[in-house]
Symmetry: C2
DNA sequence: TTAGAACTTAAACCATGGTTGAAGTCAAGC
DNA sequence: GCTTGACTTCAACCATGGTTTAAGTTCTAA
């Protein structure tokens, strides 16, 4: 039992997670070899704290818990799994970069909406007289309303 | 019934989604006013195709269906909801940018692992004689194995 | 006119990622 | 010695985002 060991409460506070999540992660095999003290309480060693940091990095990039578990199993198996881990991380990195690019593209569509809404609102400020300035989606919307409430 | 109208099969093919997902979206209120033909089949108008494109942009940026539904309801309510929609989109855009930044930071941690694994593998190629070159995580891993299998 | 493809509904089912509740144990301070 | 807080287990529950299944209808083309 090392001085750097932590209780579940301390580990949870450190990472800003509920204790229930850490118990759940252990149950899911993400924290292999997590010890217990004489009273049966979980002991988070420095290794497990480091591992948790890695797990959270993978989670924040949307790796499913099942894949994280595979990765952790390879870590436990030792250095002979290095090529497997390297391959997994390289693929994951590319998947994350792809995902980020897709989000950027989707953001472009959202920015167009923002621009249209800002124009509309500032148009309202310029003149409250011309009530008919629908365009784009709103035109489609109007025609939809014509069809449904003719 | 317009010439640009589509069946559920055509709409699904257009967006690369299963038909079941489109039915599910309608049930969840994401496709208000979706019509039926004489035989009771869904009719996807141009408005609904445009709306679906917007829905998918929001989804690809991880907006929950419940929020998308709120947005769609505001679209149906008309132009007086423009400020609400603008506010929602601005907040969402910032949330997406934040999320992308968090992913980039997590990627940095992953890149460090990749570098370590690549070093290790190329080290193996340089000399197969020195079997003890553990560092970082692997050192922690070793000490963990000492604790668990002493 | 009959088979097959394409659609319909409602309800059940599924995976993921947790959260919550009940009932109990343990160590420390009053 | 007794309460209080921090922990334990196990099972049940939950939300999200669909997918699947069963049973039935309808258009299309040979």
């Amino acid at each position: 039992m090392h001085t750097t060991d932590r209780t579940i409460g301390e580990a949870a506070a450190h990472f800003g997670l509920p204790e229930s999540t850490l118990r759940y992660y252990e149950k899911k095999g993400l924290l292999p070899g997590l010890g217990r003290d004489e009273a049966g309480r979980r002991v988070f060693s420095e290794f497990h704290m480091t591992l948790l940091q890695v797990i959270l990095n993978l989670k924040r990039t949307n790796m499913p818990l099942g894949s994280i578990r595979q990765y952790v199993e390879w870590v436990v198996e030792g250095e002979q799994t290095t090529p497997l881990r390297l391959d997994m991380m390289l693929k994951h990195r590319q998947a994350v970069l792809d995902e980020i690019e897709i989000m950027h593209e989707a953001l472009d569509g959202i920015d167009i909406k923002i621009a249209r809404y800002e124009d509309r609102v500032s148009g309202w400020r310029k003149s409250r007289t011309d009530e008919e300035n629908a365009s784009g989606e709103e035109a489609a919307h109007t025609s939809y309303r014509k069809e449904v409430h003719p």
